[in-house]
């Protein structure tokens, strides 16, 4: 029941927002809700540690299972392991920062905060679900708020981007649906099928079924995680979205996909994961390199971050495709790290844009002199993106590379080398973007009178930077949190290999 509070709290916040009047009330209520959720997430973390310390070795803790549609064997079943807990913490960080940067959202504020909160409820529900039906429910729940957020409050070609995003993500969930159906109907013991993640993982699903439905599930979730060549919604969606929505999109929504690839596709269909891993690695390596080079060509800061997200999410899928314990741990670390880093990046870009009204690198310049705080945040995000030691990006990427190299196959090693090499390209575009926009002389005299970050923006950036540095300097607590979870996945994969 403890975990259900993670969904109930946002819903209560949303309900409270409905009865608020005026921006001031709405934002205070949203902030209180998000903070409560933030504190509660840490509460769950401490409870989790306590349980583990007391010797509870169950795969999923705080298990709660009630029947929902008995005749269809659909349950409301929640529980968490280290991987989901890491995702929940990430969500809590991004949500509170997103609420803070939207502090002065004037137009249709009630609807704006309402949709943000519903979106976060969907993400929390998704990460705690142990039943594939509820998991799918929450996955789809998060699509429409994104459409509305981009379409109503976005900028540029917002309607096109919103529609593209909604349709591509729905196509993704349509594929996931087929995959889930295939799984469900192959679990038959005396006609009693199951959506339960734990039950399915303990059954042996026949290899042919796995081979048929793994692509559906993996590509479906992959669309959410910007799997090449289905990444095209990412640049448009991110760049048209309002700041908070960009943060949610890149920070949380894309992680839904990565988590699904890992938890549903790979964990439940290990045979097929093994069989298709060359394809996954090929696609993700292409995404990493293509994303990096595409970013080089961008002049709009938001596009830069969006394309670099394609590249960074490629590492997540690469880690999953390599199927070693270190690489999968690295993939999860990368999800957390990229979520925090990209949210920080978008927050900084949003702050710059709200002051200068442009996101073009060549029109900006010298911002460090007038906006020291924001520019510093921007540079920190950039450095994290290019993998500076001491920040979370380095930890995550190195783990992925080490894990990938453990694969003795020479082609896998080639992919690892190529992916490693993309870091150089990342350094080029990040340093160039930072150099053009925040260093150098002030290009536009009007920028002289800009005011630096307000308290809410400082707080938002502070929260995210704390997360990034905490992982970068002391990665072990997160590493220890995640490893037990990935162990189960590796066992599953190992079982699949030995069975052959």
């Amino acid at each position: 029941m403890l975990l259900s509070l993670l969904i109930i709290l946002p819903l209560l916040t949303a309900l409270a927002i409905l009865f608020c009047k005026g921006l001031k009330q709405v934002r205070i209520v949203s902030l209180i809700g998000a903070s409560a959720q933030f504190i509660f997430s840490f509460g769950v973390l401490f409870e989790y540690w306590k349980e583990r310390a007391s010797g509870n070795t169950a795969q999923f803790l705080f298990d709660f299972n009630i029947s929902w549609f008995e005749s269809l064997h659909i349950h409301y079943h929640v529980g968490i392991d280290g991987i989901s807990l890491a995702m929940i913490l990430l969500t809590a960080f991004v949500v509170i920062a997103g609420i803070l940067v939207s502090w002065t959202q004037e137009t249709l504020h009630q609807e704006f905060f309402l949709l943000l909160i519903i979106l976060s409820a969907g993400a929390y529900g998704y990460f705690i679900s142990l039943d594939l039906f509820t998991l799918f429910f929450f996955l789809e729940l998060a699509v429409i708020p994104k459409f509305m957020l981009i379409g109503i409050w976005g900028s540029g070609k917002k309607e096109y981007s919103a529609m593209k995003l909604a349709l591509m993500l729905m196509a993704g969930s349509a594929l996931v649906f087929v995959g889930l159906m295939g799984l469900y109907f192959s679990t038959g013991i005396n006609g009693a099928h199951s959506f339960d993640l734990l039950e399915i993982s303990q059954m042996h699903i026949s290899t042919s079924v796995q081979n048929t439905f793994f692509p559906f599930a993996f590509i479906g979730f992959g669309i959410f995680a910007a799997l090449f060549p289905f990444h095209t919604w990412v640049p448009d969606g991110h760049s048209s979205a309002p700041t908070a929505a960009s943060m949610f999109l890149a920070g949380i929504s894309m992680k839904l996909g990565g988590y699904g690839c890992l938890r549903v596709a790979t964990y439940l269909m290990p045979d097929a994961a093994h069989r298709y891993s060359p394809v996954i690695i090929l696609l993700s390596t292409v995404a990493i390199i293509y994303g990096a080079f595409a970013t080089m060509m961008q002049k709009d800061l938001k596009y830069i971050n969006a394309y670099s997200s394609v590249s960074h999410c490629g590492f997540v899928l690469l880690g999953i495709g390599m199927l070693t314990q270190t690489s999968i741990t690295g993939a999860v670390l990368q999800m957390v790290s990229h979520g925090l880093m990209t949210a920080l990046f978008f927050a900084a870009i949003g702050m710059i844009y709200s002051r200068t009204h442009t996101r073009m690198t060549e029109q900006l310049g010298g911002l460090l002199k007038v906006l020291p705080f924001i520019s510093t945040v921007f540079v920190i995000a950039g450095l994290c993106s290019l993998g500076l030691p001491g920040l979370s990006g380095f930890v995550a990427e190195v783990t992925v590379f080490m894990g990938s190299w453990q694969n003795p196959d020479q082609w896998y090693r080639l992919a690892t080398i190529l992916a490693c090499a993309s870091i150089v390209v990342t350094a080029v575009y990040i340093l160039r973007a930072a150099g053009k926009s925040v260093m150098g002389p002030i290009r536009n005299r009007q920028y002289d009178h800009l005011t630096d970050a307000h308290w809410n923006e400082r707080l938002a950036a502070g929260i995210l930077v704390t997360g990034i540095v905490a992982i970068g300097v002391a990665p072990f607590w997160l590493y220890d949190l995640i490893t037990p979870g990935t162990e189960y996945i590796i066992q599953q994969v190992g079982k699949a290999i030995t069975l052959k």
Partner: protein, 474 residues
Amino acid sequence: MTMIMGIDFLVLMKQEWMVIAILFILLFIKVSGDDWQNENILKLVNILMFINLMTGFFGYRDGILFNEMFKTNHLIVTEKNILSLGTFIISLQSYSWLKNNKQVIEFYLLLLSTLLGMFFMISAGNLLMFYLGLELSSIPLAALANFDLEKRKSGEAAFKFIISSAFASGLLLFGISLVYGTTGTLTLSGISEHLDGSPLQILAFILLISGFGFKISAVPFHLWTADVYEGSPVTVTSYFSVISKGSVLFVFVTVLYTAFKSYAVTWNHILFIISVFTMVTGNLFAIRQNNLKRFLAFSSISQVGFILIGMSGQSQAGTASVVYFILIYTFSNLGAFGVISLVSAYSGKENIEEYRAFYKTNPRLSWVLAISLFSLAGIPPTAGFFGKFFLLMAGAGQGNYLLITIAALNMVVSLYYYLKIIKAIFMDTNENPIDKLLTPPSPKLALIICTTGIILTGFIGYIYEYIYSMSTIF
């Protein structure tokens, strides 16, 4: 013995008696020539309809009357309750349209006659009785389609409907007579015992399916739908698309699962092909529509495609998912039609372009319309998500994953056109938006019922379980 027969006769047919009673009360008011205010008549009718709805929930009895001409069981009572509920909502919604209409009583006489026909049709245990009910339900419908007496399009719609409906009835009758010729019986239970797969029987079966196809406007029998929907008054359109369609679907399920159970392999293939064509055609045409009524006509065609998938599943899960979906579809479609009929009654606007920036002036109605459309599109947390999920799940139970994949991708296409309306309402700008509408109490109640239904039906797992537990009767 005759005493018990008499009581049975009253109790088993209680819903029919209720409708007949309301019909007689209205007839009495009409004949007596008293000068009733329209508003009072509407109030009275709505109260009577509510009582009619409530009586459906009490005193369930299974039973058979008149040599299987009339049968009833828990599932059939529930189906009738869904239709009663839909008719009640439509009656509430038609308030603003009917309050200045001189022929209110006639409208309800026709409406309730069709409802009575549908009740008999659902309860029919005999194909002849089924045909009788079908005709009783479709002929007054044509008159209803013509109810906008000043509009030419309304007359055109009625004419189109009566012609195509007569043709469909002809096909059905031909099919029924061939069934009788080859099996020597017309009772549903009797037919299943005498099926031997002779060519004549197959022909009869195909004729029956075509007849049903016409009534539920499945592709390629859908051509009448859009024109009739566009021409009829909005209230009648909603009645067409929800109640009339729903009732025929209920019977279709019964006929397939009881009388033609042994042809399951054949009709699974037929349903596969029809449902794919229905979904695809409905979707492709819906994208191009500008008139909201036509749009909903095509979107309801594609919904039928999804329902046919559920039908192709195993009998219990299949039936349950179809009945459950129609319940949800009633809420969602009537929610959308409720808003459209309000707007149409006040401003006469029915085009998607005219709905631009609707949110600026009517935020609440916009949300109701949006939630209804999301439910039609099958987006969580609305009930439509659960409905579609279970339909496709029932279909997937037969192992036909190709069909499921096509259907799932069709859901994406359908999302596109539903989102187009959402975009017009919430995101576009308009210099001349629809004025702020004051919603009278009874349409407001209808919208509240629909919205509540859309939000709650999915989460209350008991509703599905209940329908599922009753679907074992076949």
